[in-house]
Amino acid sequence: MTATMEKPLTGDMHSDGSVLDLPSYEQAGGYQAVRKVLKGGGMTPNAVIDQVKGANLRGRGGAGFSTGMKWSFVPRGQDAPNPTYLVVNADEMEPGTFKDRLLMERNPHQLIEGAIVAGFAIEADVAYIFLRGEYTLAAERIARAIAEAYERHYLGRDILGSGYSLELHLHLSGGRYICGEETGLLNALEGKRANPRSKPPFPPVVGLFGKPTVVNNVETLCCVPHIINHGAAWFRALGRGGDAGTKLYGASGKVKRPGLWELPMGTTVREILEEHAGGMRDGLKLRGLLPGGASTPFIVEEHLDTPMDFTAMAKVGSRMGTGTMIVLDDHTCPVGMAWNMMRFFGRESCGFCTPCWSGLGWAERILQSMEEGRGQAGDLDKLAFQAKMWAPGNTFCALAPGAADPLQTALKYFRGEFDRHISEHRCPWR
């Protein structure tokens, strides 16, 4: 039980990689939150929202918005538009991010239970899990778990005789990174191209099919049953710093032990990198890292003692993002890495806003030319100008601003390497 209380999201998972089926999930205390909320008077939707607000649960998809606050924006009551939707954003596609896959493959019922509680709180009638098409194992296991949950009346009409009804469907995406953007995702779910929508209005008011819709990340919803079971104060106390709960942290790149760990929110970058990931591989030094996916700003050695949470990472000019860090070593070229990421963002642009579809490709070509020894004086100014043009407000969504973050900070921290590419007419690391 201790392991579960310290690692609520992963403590009950089987270590052999197999899925926690319904009986094992129930045995570990699963669906108690649904019972607590729904059975015999249970809780009111407002009480659920207040508890999640009080827990200071912030969105684990990367933006860190207050989950309880988001839920409270949904119009409810008799005059509210009908139906209301809950959408689970399971479109994990941020480069370097591999946390939601674990949650869905190993314990799909935890996600389903979180969705039922969230659905009850916002008075949702229908919920969708929007899952990226490449997550084939997760798809199989979620589909099975949904069927099991229907059989036991955790889903469907009149759940456990409470009067609350929720339908839950699994949608497998047709691809594209932009589907992870919540309004692009809603368009995809409506069977359209996944172009993000202009905001406001925001989805809790005008969302899927024009109806009130809450879009929550997988990890966010997985926290919800535990907050209901153990309380807001318990959840807040799990965090070490300014933010609450635990967090699935990860590390990839040339570290000794790449992997994923559930740790107290606010664990320092150094502890994740050095203790859990085992530090850099022998013979390599840390050059810098992206804390939570390709669209977060680089941090370097001097920032390693920063707690990895939304609040502290913002103070050092970066973002926690998804909390799964991508580590750049001193034998890997930062210009090449920037080129790889700009090629990614350029390819994944939905093609709607000009700074994005035009600017990203431009930056990609400049970085390519530098890598191929054709860099010219003035290239770095052009890159800086482009990145400036991708600022929030110039585009409908966060894709281009997200591309600007790693590029601008790469130019700031690795300026010497960029200059060498131009002055030496080659990539020194090839």
Binding site: G133, T136, G175, G191, P258, N340
Partner: protein
């Protein structure tokens, strides 16, 4: 003509949405699962079944990279080229695959066995580099073992 099986699968999914054309991405994927890809004829049949114009449906179909509007081989290899895999040696995997198969990305081997495509981050970053072949994930790739992975796909 859509088969009875395809229509039945499409209708099962269509019941999940309040608007009929919302199911179009599922429909494209269902037909692709049965036929390998979505030909012009298939596209027209799906559009007719859903009461959409073929042009509208194609604007959707061509947006999504997991929907194939060109014929593909019996097996589709999707190689992750995102940043963690790049750091961990994606370039060498890419070279090995293109040399071994004698084709570039976006192409199909003359024997129609493999189509080679790039893919965004597969969420397998702690076991990079990674690729998918059909529905199977292959991780911790190195150029020496690529052939072993491919052997089981005939």
């Amino acid at each position: 003509m859509l088969t009875r099986e395809e229509i039945s699968e499409i209708e099962t999914e269509a019941a999940h949405y309040p608007k009929r054309d919302a199911v179009c991405i599922d429909a494209l994927k269902i037909v692709q699962r049965h036929r390998g890809w979505v030909s012009d004829d298939s596209l027209r049949d799906i559009a007719a079944h859903l009461g959409m114009s073929p042009t509208d449906l194609d604007s959707v179909a061509t947006f999504y990279n997991l929907i194939f509007r060109k014929s593909v081989g019996r097996h589709v290899i999707m190689v992750c080229d995102s940043v963690s895999c790049w750091i961990m040696g994606h370039e060498r995997i890419k070279e090995q695959l293109t040399q071994r198969l004698g084709i570039g990305f976006g192409e199909t081997t003359p024997d129609n066995r493999f189509t080679l495509l790039p893919i965004v981050c597969l969420g397998c970053c702690d076991h990079a580099p990674a690729m998918m072949v059909d529905a199977d994930l292959h991780a911790d790739l190195d150029p020496q073992t690529i052939d072993t992975h491919l052997e089981k796909y005939k």
